[in-house]
Amino acid sequence: CEAQFLPNPEERRIPNMEKSRPLWDNPLQFVFACISYAVGLGNVWRFPYLCQMYGGGGFLIPYFIMLVVEGMPLLYLELAVGQRMRRGSIGAWKMISPYLCGVGVASVVVSFFLSMYYNVINAWAFWYLFHSFQDPLPWASCPLNGNRTGDEAECARTSPTQYFWYRRTLNIAPSLEAAGALQWEQALCLTLAWLLVYLCILRGTESTGKVVYVTASLPYCVLIIYLIRGLTLHGAVNGLIYMFTPKLEQLANPKAWISAATQIFFSLGLGFGSLIAFASYNEPSNNCERHAVVVSLINSATSIFASIVTFSIYGFKATFNYESCMSKVILLLTNAFDLEEGSLTADNLGAVQGHLQAAHPQRYAELQPQLKNCSLEAELDTAVQGTGLAFIVYSEAIKNMEVPQLYSVLYFVMLLMLGIGSMLGNTAAILTPLTDSKFIASHLSKEVVSGLVCFINCIIGLIFTMEAGNYWFDIFNDYAATLSLLLIVLVETIAVCYVYGIRRFEKDLHTMIGHKPSWYWKVMWAFASPLLIISLFIFYITDYILTGTLQYQAWDAAQVKQHRGFDYPGYALAVIGLLVAASTMCIPLGALLTLARRRLRRGRARPVA
């Protein structure tokens, strides 16, 4: 029966023939690595925003339903594939079916794009961290203008924290076309960020396994400190009440459900190949089912925990701004009408304003443009997400706390840990397939490959340190990973359920874990998750088509209205198209290449037989 064991030459490669695969020291390292990767900046700066937009406490309902329908099953699927195949994404999908090597390559490409721009956030966190060692904090007050009679114009128009972010950190250009010069300070911080990442991934699981103990647990310590500090701040309760009052009518809004599904999907980091890479370093008998449930629950719980902290900070900041707005109005009126000091308070302001308007209508009308309508609701309503939340809103709240330097350092160290944790996953997704490949592993050592990847990413990342860099960052953030990931995960799910076969997968899991997956998992894998992903996909495509031209918000320092919408120029649209195409096209191209190669081989073999 020799003929039975002559598979195709590429399948002859027996997985265990080369030196044994590095493993995690213990299952806890694996769990910590997954948590460190999944719990990232999105939990801190995206989930609170979604909660605020889509009905406060009510948003938790679609969120948990999506977690159960989509999050846990897909996470379990990826971990199981990685643990079973014991290979990075390219090798794992090749083993499922040779036509699916394109899926693995697409994952690597998307991870590459992600790591290019994601580390810039760590560079910004470093920048803020280094600036936290000053008294007073540099974003606490405006710098003075040329003749030292008042604040710098741009800063006086906006706020010190916004000025520090847009001018001192980004030095942002007024539009994408005005590319501007490289900011050497940001370039230095980016280089440092990449050196730190290189230090953590240098030895593979050996070094990563130790680092994730810190990157996974430190953010929780800081969040607990912030929770205690946040809840004791004046006005924090306002924010919490605002967040948790459920506006259940938002549940009828389809966008709430789509946002919940998208958030779960991207928050867990599915489709990048990182989870497959991490799981491939597991012992084959590891209980990845339990770990999948644990990791997804911890990820969601962290999101909720972080939003409690964020909303108490919001409440504090909104109350502070409201009260200073009130005192400014009081001062203005007292000075203008020469009233007695202390006669105007927050309580009688409305009544006195009405009285003054009636008594001195002309003077009051002159004053009108300077009088702002102070409203706590309006302050709370300013929903912010992304870098705006992390770097502007939080730093504004921090500067008003006691001992702001301490809280500032803690906060930015936490951001750094979250970011580095996610970067470890991203780089693992790129490096694991590369080091698995025989060709590369025989020529270059692990350290050299890691170093090359970090170096290339760092050089390309310098684009994001230019003056218009933040606009390119937004392009990458919005388009590099979104559509491609949905497609990748859809193909993954269909491949495992229908190409590999769910019965075979069941048997593999039984061998690994000791029991077959229950009907819940099978139903989700085979029907619910693919249908959900398809509907998300359709939604995204129709959304892109309906909006027509793609626009971006530019920061214009010279204008009173800072954010202005512009259309993307032609070359930016080309880059967007390239980003999406580069990863999605890998899937069909991979299948076609394999088909072509097989046809060629069969063509060559036929004359012999």
Binding site: N16, S20, F133
Partner: protein, 182 residues
């Protein structure tokens, strides 16, 4: 009203606010207040006692106040923000800046630590690999001497099968359903 004038006078005279031309003692009656409001704000003029009716030029008073702003503030235990002289905008003292920005120092420290860590890990990695190479070349020599026969099962040397992977036979698992059953 009287107390404000006296305050004003006390301060003006106490701090030698005498113009170059006037070299005279200012009396409290030289400081005239008007338009005093509840807001504790008022207008004042300084008369020149030498020439009865005229007042000291506004620009001179302004210049004098500008010179002694700090002392005036401290007399009232107020600051530039809480004691405002209309039309006299204060120049704000710039914040103290150290010669090297603080952030560069912290950056330098973190950079040195990171680079030191990288160098340490690389050097220990190279040393470990050299040791491993030496050991494996020694075992190879031993094998050549003993001529160990390697049992082969279906074209695959048994030793190379990683037996640590235990109950999953990696040779069969991925491929068993690919082939037609006999």
């Amino acid at each position: 009203m009287l107390s404000s004038a006296s305050q004003m006078h006390r301060m003006l005279s106490k701090y030698g606010l005498v113009s170059k031309q006037l070299w005279e003692i200012m009396l409290i009656s030289n400081v005239l207040l008007c338009n005093v409001t509840d807001r504790v704000s008022f207008w004042f003029v300084v008369t020149d006692s030498a020439k009865n009716v005229t007042t000291v030029a506004g620009s001179e008073v302004e210049a004098a106040i500008r010179m002694n702003r700090n002392r005036i503030n401290s007399a009232f235990l107020l600051s530039d923000k809480t004691l405002q002289f209309l039309k006299i905008s204060s120049t704000i003292a710039p914040p103290v800046e150290p010669s090297t920005p603080v952030w560069l120092i912290v950056f330098g420290v973190v950079l040195c630590l990171t680079v030191a860590g990288i160098v340490f890990l690389i050097v220990t990695g190279i040393q470990r690999r050299k040791k491993q190479n030496k050991e494996s070349s020694e075992t190879e020599d031993l094998e050549e001497k003993c001529e160990v026969t390697v049992t082969i099962e279906n074209g695959i040397p048994c030793e190379t099968l990683d037996l640590k992977a235990g109950h999953i036979n990696g040779v069969y698992a991925a491929d068993d359903e690919r082939f037609a059953s006999l």
